[in-house]
């Protein structure tokens, strides 16, 4: 009966799946949405799925430089991110804390009592997309806020972990609490409050990134 139904209505079912798949992806767990409304890995599709990311910071420090290879090592050569064979390649571009138009992420250290870190994305304008020769929309650029009071009270690993988590948001990921992930937010209500126990991108993080980009 069911077999006959699918046989008869396969085209209609296929049409429905095709039409609804973008809507389903938008609400897929672990992502904020889909490119080109979110993310920028860089710039997805338009430059051949390059994972090159330039950062600026108003407090360049060793934790940033330690976090970047951790991200690269745990995203390189993985089956979940086969489009980014060289992984996510984060590079310190400037220490000026100012946006130039090659910068993708600004790590801004400031007094920020509501939480240790937050991610604020801005959708790129059509003129910015044209500047890079890609059509609008073309993703976002992200500011990651890091609370200086929290930062000063933490050890090296915890700081690196925060950089990895906040920049994960900039790539298009949302908090994830149902399994071990760099996107666990450290709250006791999120996967048992694991934080420095997870210092690398996990399969669920990589799958999330793969789902963000077309």
């Amino acid at each position: 009966m069911l077999k006959n139904f699918f046989k008869t209505y396969s085209i209609s079912v296929l049409a429905l799946v095709v039409l609804l798949s973008p809507a389903v992806l938008v609400f897929a767990n672990h992502t904020k949405g889909t490119y080109p409304s979110v993310g920028h890995l860089w710039m997805s599709g338009g430059t051949g799925y390059s994972g090159l990311i330039f950062t600026t910071s108003n407090n360049c420090n060793s934790s940033e430089l330690n976090a970047y290879p951790r991200v690269k090592n745990s995203t390189t050569g993985t089956s979940e991110m086969s489009r980014w064979t060289n992984g996510i390649d984060m590079r310190r571009y400037t220490c000026t804390g100012t946006w130039d138009n090659s910068t993708d992420i600004y790590l801004q250290y400031l007094s920020h009592p509501s939480s240790p870190g937050e991610n604020h994305d801005t959708v790129n304008s059509s003129a910015y997309c044209a500047f890079w020769g890609v059509s609008y929309p073309c993703g976002v650029r992200s500011t990651d806020h890091i609370d200086t009071t929290w930062w000063n009270g933490q050890g090296t690993l915890s700081r690196e972990r925060l950089i990895m988590h906040e920049t994960g948001h900039a790539f298009g990921l949302a908090d994830h609490c149902t399994s071990d992930a760099i996107m666990n937010n450290g709250l006791s209500t999120c996967n048992g409050g694991k934080w420095i126990a997870i210092m690398q991108y996990m399969p669920t993080d990589r799958t999330g990134i793969n789902n963000v980009y077309p």
Binding site: T8, Y9, I11, S12, L14, A15, L16, V18, L19, N29, K32, G33, S37, V38, W42, G46, T47, G48, S50, L52, F54, T98, W99, D100, N101, S102, Y106, P113, S114, S115, P116, G117, E118, N119, H120, D121, T122, V123, S125, S126, A127, Y128, C129, A130, F131, W132, G133, V140, R141, T143, H169, A174, D175, C177, N185, L187, T189, C190
Partner: protein
């Protein structure tokens, strides 16, 4: 017999295509027109009611051209999402105090990004800085000119 089977298949394809077209029209054409005022109402209501139950990471995604901010946060381990209007010219009137504080924060982020970008684009246009290249892709100066005309005083 073969002709009848073929005709049935053609009918099924036609039905499938008609259904797909109808769905597409309802999603992509009719819905946005009807939803415009509903969206505005939804955003206004969300902004008036926005409150965070605990000290938590509040992530945002600003779409300045469409005047919308997507807010995401974690509420006792559960992911929460809402959309609120971005109307800095009104001082975020009608929004809760928590929403106003968050929107002011978002505004600062956005205005800094625009101001810094303007400085950089102006330097590129004047020749003070070279046209950048990234991942083997050379930037296009016309985009810089358009940005300055549209966003920079």
């Amino acid at each position: 017999m073969t002709k009848i089977i073929l005709q049935n298949k053609i009918n099924l394809i036609a039905i499938g295509l008609a259904l797909a077209t109808a769905l597409y029209i309802s999603f992509a054409v009719v819905t946005p027109a009807v939803a415009d005022s509903e969206l505005k109402r939804e955003l206004t209501t969300n902004c008036a009611n926005l409150s965070f139950s605990q000290s938590t990471e509040r992530n945002t995604l600003l779409d300045p051209d469409n005047g919308i901010v997507l807010v995401q946060w974690s509420d006792n381990g559960n992911r929460r999402d809402t959309r609120i209007p971005y109307e800095p010219q009104s001082g975020f009137q009608g929004c809760s105090q928590e929403a106003k504080a968050l929107l002011s924060h978002v505004r600062e982020v956005y205005e800094k990004q625009v101001a810094d970008s303007c400085t950089d684009f102006k330097d590129i246009i004047s020749g003070a800085k070279p046209l950048p290249e990234k991942n083997g892709k050379k930037a296009n100066i016309q985009g810089a000119v358009n940005f300055v005309n549209q966003y920079c005083k």
